[in-house]
């Protein structure tokens, strides 16, 4: 792969949009350009350079030695291990790591934020009404952005998936869509909307509840500015041919009311009586949605799974990282890139780290094996925020395949468990 080249149709995992129309220009094995340009994507691709070290207790070892030491540590701690699925992993790598968790009677958790997790458990309680992004683009004629301006964290969401492009039912693009924007406290809404309003955090659940009452056919007789506003928005949504409610399922600086997502799900479901509607939950990148999908098909649960009894159990109230602080685990295997907000959680546990830039982790590791970034170096599949699976087209040769390392580790662990030599 040393020749200069253009690699087309590359899937970017910079955010949950997972745009798969990216062309990457490679010169002398460095990424020098990506197009279409998006700041989040550009930062995610960088120049594509990752280290290629293999360390044990901070010193260089061979990959075979590293795998053996990791297997020894994990097998010895069987039943008291954590497997953590970080970011920038293919779904195949996530699956291989989960197989290890099963072998080790480990807890397995992923980079799903607590805010996003609240959305997943809400969907378990109520269901949901949603759509793939193309459906939103092709049909949505009334949009309600609830406390989110996607421009910052999901830069191409508006241009590629929602407001701006022409859709089959909305050939005028943005001009054919009516956009309502709600700011909720510090969670500001979309600029340039056709209608905007602001609510205090303490008002949002009441507003969403009133809207649901209205779209369900209950006359809103309450006399207050909030009730009036809610009734107006509800009327606009009911008048849509296809309404789209957009919210950020990832955390923001403002403390999120945990009832927000439930109220949005309920409102969207109710809207499907008088018209059609879907809720679009914006999700972060790095294939975190793929981890939830894979965990669901392998275990039945999308995050926070515990194999310690020999089968998967859902432990949403006992997230994996929380257990690190409480000393629940004797060993941990961290696979993939660690979200910044989670990095501190591993301090003091000296995890085994397998993933891109593992050797540069900001905490001590017992074993660190650098591998490639899914989508830049590693092939496989990743999931968009709407759970559409996409192929990964590597544009650079990586240090080593994450899946290969995990499969070697699984075999080494199995050999130790079979021989009784933990």
């Amino acid at each position: 792969m040393s020749a200069d080249r253009l690699v087309e149709h590359v899937t970017c995992l910079g955010c949950g949009c997972s745009c798969d129309d990216v062309t990457v220009r490679v010169v002398q094995d460095h990424i020098v350009d990506v197009a279409p340009v998006c700041p989040v994507g550009r930062a995610w691709f960088g120049d594509g350079q990752v280290p290629s070290r293999v360390l044990s207790q901070g010193g260089p070892v061979t990959i075979e030695q590293a795998v053996e030491r990791a297997a020894h540590r994990l097998a010895a701690a069987k039943g008291r291990c954590l497997v953590y699925l970080g970011l920038d992993l293919s779904t195949q790598a996530q699956g291989a790591a989960t197989a290890l968790a099963d072998q080790l009677n480990a807890a397995v958790d992923c980079a799903t934020s607590d805010t996003a997790a609240a959305g997943l458990t809400t969907a378990q309680r109520r269901g949901r009404a949603s759509a793939t992004l193309g459906e939103i683009r092709n049909r949505g004629d009334v949009f309600l952005f609830w406390g989110v301006d996607p421009s910052d964290r999901y830069p191409r969401f508006l241009a590629r998936y929602s407001l701006e492009p022409a859709g089959i039912q909305v050939p005028e693009g943005r001009r054919g869509r009516y956009v309502i924007s709600a700011s909720i406290g510090d969670d500001r809404g979309l600029g340039g909307a056709d209608s905007t309003f602001a609510l205090g955090p303490e008002e949002e659940i009441t507003a969403l509840t009133l809207m649901r009452a209205s779209v369900s056919g209950n006359p809103v007789t309450a006399k207050s500015p909030l009730a009036t506003r809610a009734a107006e928005v509800a009327q606009r949504l009911v008048g849509a041919r296809y309404a789209v409610l957009v919210h950020d399922a990832e955390p923001s600086a403002q403390q999120r009311n945990p009832l927000r997502v439930e109220a949005l799900v309920a409102l969207t479901q109710a809207l499907n009586g008088p018209t059609r509607a879907s809720l679009c939950s914006l999700r972060g990148g790095g294939n975190r949605v793929g981890a939830e999908s894979m965990l669901t098909w392998q275990t039945g649960y999308p995050f926070a799974v515990d194999y310690s009894l020999g089968y998967p159990r859902s432990q949403p109230q006992r997230r994996g990282l929380a257990g690190v602080a409480s000393g629940r685990y004797q060993a941990s295997l961290v696979v993939g890139a660690i979200p910044e907000e989670h990095a501190l959680g591993f301090s003091g546990l000296s995890p085994i780290l397998i993933g891109p830039r593992a050797s540069s982790a900001p905490f001590d590791t017992s074993v660190a094996i650098d591998t490639g970034v899914a989508g830049i170096h590693d092939q496989g599949t990743a999931y968009r925020m709407d759970e559409v699976p996409l192929p990964l087209r590597p544009c650079l040769v990586g240090p080593r395949s994450t899946v290969d390392v995990l499969e070697s580790l699984a075999q080494a662990v199995q050999d130790r468990l079979n021989s009784g030599a933990r």
Binding site: A123, A129, N138, I168, G273, W297, Q298, P312
Partner: protein, 544 residues
Amino acid sequence: MSGTQLRLVGGTVYDPANQVDGETRDLCIEDGRVVPSLPDRAPSLDLRGMVVMPGGVDIHSHLASASCNHARRLLPEEHAADPMPLPTLVDGDRARSGTGGTVPSTFTTGYRYAGLGYTTVFDAAVAPLTARHSHAELDDTPCVDGGIFVLMGNDEYLLRQIAAGERERARDYAAWLLGSAGGYAIKIVNPGGIEAWKSGQRNLNGLDEPLAGRGVTGRAILEALANAGHELGLPHPVHIHCNNLGMPGNAEVTLASMQALTGRRAHFTHLQFHSYGGPGWKSGAAQLMDYVNAHPELSVDVGQIMFGPATTITADGPVEYLLHRSSGRRWVNIDIELETGCGIVPFVYKDKAAVTALQWAIGLELFLLSQDPWRVVLSTDHPNGGSFLSYPALIQLLMDRTIRDERLKQVNPKLLAGSALADGLTREYTLNEIAIITRAGPARLLGLKHKGHLGVGADADVTVYSRDSDIARMFATPRYVLKGGSLLVEEGQLRRAPAGRRLRLAPGYDDAVLPDLRRYFEAYSTVSFANYPVQGIRDEPLPL
């Protein structure tokens, strides 16, 4: 016992495809296939007194799709109640634990199908946009060979070709789509009705109501895709879920759909859900089965409901919305761009509920009024009518009139007046007929020449049952199950869990369709044309 040779000695063989009806025979297996003979020193397994059949073939299940995964996620309480610890495998196979319920985790699904004696399973409804997901799930579903049926009956590009009268382009597109998805058959769900749901028309009422602004009817969609399947030489004809599923009086549109395809092969799936006479709720089974009996080009699977928990999963979005509204239960709806929809509602069929009692009776009527078991396949539309784990109980209802009549006395009789079952159907299925409706028949309807029989050259997929007066127990716990000659189940215990083989097709087409298709993708799809086809599927396409 997993060597390349094995002689199965002295079993009572039911192999209807080869006209073997309960004969004591030896079966010789070498390198995964049935062979005429083996050397005397070949290892053997004593099956004297046991019942031997080909491995089961499930023509219509929902086990490996994005929709199934949405349903799985919706059911944590079922998973918690039904954990599946690691089975103890031999030969160094690494087992996986999992969870059950009506939509089990993938590994558990494979293990439980094998434990039931089924060795080939198809997921009957996959949106091509998410076919990559289905193949990933199937990669994690061991023990069974399998494939997917590809949803086409509400596809935007196809609707455009039909509206424009571009019959040949519609066929070429169907071929491209089937190959791109790695699919095995064309599936139609509520032709036109899902697009109506998504576009605000809510649904189509009958076969001839046009989609607003398009002029395309369900009839036109049926005809276009049935013709495409025929012209492409697909081994399984179009697999049709008719309009108006679950609605009283829908037998009329079902019959009209069958008549629309007169003279053309077609498979009508989960017919029970489409066999409601009207006005009000009553059985339409006799009318429909009369038609099926008289038309050898048609086949059906029944989609029996079984009392107990189920999870309804279908691309038929409008029907799930109505079920949600009428039952008050949790509801998932996912609109899938340019292609189809997805609806999910967990449900419980109660014998004291009049409508579900009628549904139960209608399914049994379809089985019992059928004159040709080769064209009437056993299914519960897993998990819509009940889990595949309820097949043994269903077989018992078919084989044992006494038990069936006792069960009938326990159900709500309110809507059963005039039903054939209530009037007394005395038929009892034989073991040979069970072998037809659970393996030989579906394999033949799928065009799987190496499945569903035990003749020389067949895949060595074999299920062995210990005779038992309790038919349900007999079929729930096979003594041995072989797949490709490998003993998956020994003495009732899962011992091996090899990966299954992917059954898929890649029909040829005129690539003149591609430039137009590329333009369409660039205009309306959010997935690049180059990234749409699934690459790297485990096995090569089967020859056509």
